[in-house]
Symmetry: C2
Subunit: 184 residues, 2 copies
Amino acid sequence: MKDTKQKIIDAAITIFNEDFSAPLENVADVAEVTRRTLHRYFADRQDLVNACQNTMQESCRKAMEEVYSNFENPLERFENMLYAAIDCGVKFSFLHRLHNNEHHSHSQHNNDCKNYDRTFNKFKSTLDELKNAGLLDASLTMEWIEMLVTGIVTAAINSEKAGNVARTNIKKFSWHSLSRGILA
Amino acid sequence: MKDTKQKIIDAAITIFNEDFSAPLENVADVAEVTRRTLHRYFADRQDLVNACQNTMQESCRKAMEEVYSNFENPLERFENMLYAAIDCGVKFSFLHRLHNNEHHSHSQHNNDCKNYDRTFNKFKSTLDELKNAGLLDASLTMEWIEMLVTGIVTAAINSEKAGNVARTNIKKFSWHSLSRGILA
DNA sequence: GACATATTTCTCAGATATGTGACATTCTCT
DNA sequence: AGAGAATGTCACATATCTGAGAAATATGTC
C-alpha cells in the first residue's frame, strides 16, 4: 500500500505534466484524497511542485546511475539508458521540459539545476563515448541526437498511454528506430 | 502588420501549448495587448480556445493537402509531410495532444474531430502506400510509426526553440533519423 | 479639423482557486 | 473496547482570475 504523500506526488506529476496550472483539486481527485489532506502534506502549491521535482530528479538519477554501473560497453549503456528513460516515463520528459522551457533560466548555482545536469551528463558522456568509438553517424550533431532521444521517449510514453502498441514492443521499437536513426 | 485578432490567437497557441490553464493575462502580454482588448475579440476563454483549434486545424490541413497534391511519389509525399508538420510546429503537436489526451473523448460526430481525422488520414494513407510498396520495415507497426513521427516533430520543435541545432539542419536531421528509423 | 475605429486605463462584481481552523469520522493498532 | 493517528467535512478568509462597462487616449482617414 503506497503511502498518501507519495500518492499525491504521483498524482501531481501526472496532472501537472498535462496542465501545469491545473487546480489542486484535480490533483487531489486523482490521488483520491481531499484537498484538505493534500494541504496537510504540502504547505502550498510551490511546496508540492518542489516535491515533484525532487521525486522526478531522484527517480531519473537512480535509474541512470544503475545503468551506468551495470554496463561497460558504450552501446549497451546507451541502449539501456533509453530503456531507463522510458521506464521513468513522464518523469523524464516532464523534468526535461521544466529545465528547458523559456520561463526557466537554467543556472549552475541552483541546486535543482545542478542535480539535473549531473543526471543528464551521465547520458551525454555515454553519447560522447559512442562518438569517440566512431559508432555515430558523423553527419549528425550531438545536440540533435539528444533532442531525438527525448522525442523518442515521448513517442514511447504516448504509445503506452494510447495503448495501441503492444507493451512488449514499445522498447524494442524505440531502440530499433533510435539506433538506426543515429548509428553509423 | 499582423492584425490584432490573429496576434492574440498566435499568442494563445504559444501559451496554451505550454500551460493550458495559464491566465488570459499571460496571453495578452505575449500578444502585446490589454486583457480588455483580448475580450473584445473573444467572448470568453472557450471562445479563444476554439479559435486556436480552428487556426491550427486549418493551418495543418492546408499544409498537408498541398503536399498531397504536389507530390505523387509516396516516399516524397511522406518526406514532405514531415517537413510540413515541422513547419506547422507547435500547431501540429498541440492539435495532436488535444485530440489524444485522456480528457478528450474523440468522436466522429464532433466537427473538430472530423476535421482532425480528415487531415491526419491524409498522412495515414500515405503511410499505407509506403507499406504496400514494401518500403517500410515490416517488423514495426503502423501505430508505432505514427507515434514516432510526432516524436520526431517534437524533437524538431524543441531544437528550434533551444536554438542549439542549426536551423538549416533541423529538417535534414529529422528526415535522416525518421527514414533510417522506419524504412526497410 | 472632424470623424470613425481601435486600444488603453480604470473600475467593479462575480467566479474560481487557495490555504487554514475546528470538529467529526474512520482506520489501525493493541 | 479504546487510544491515537490519519482523513474527511464544513465553514471561512483571502487571493487571483474573469468578464464587462465607461471614459480617456491613440490611430488612421477623409
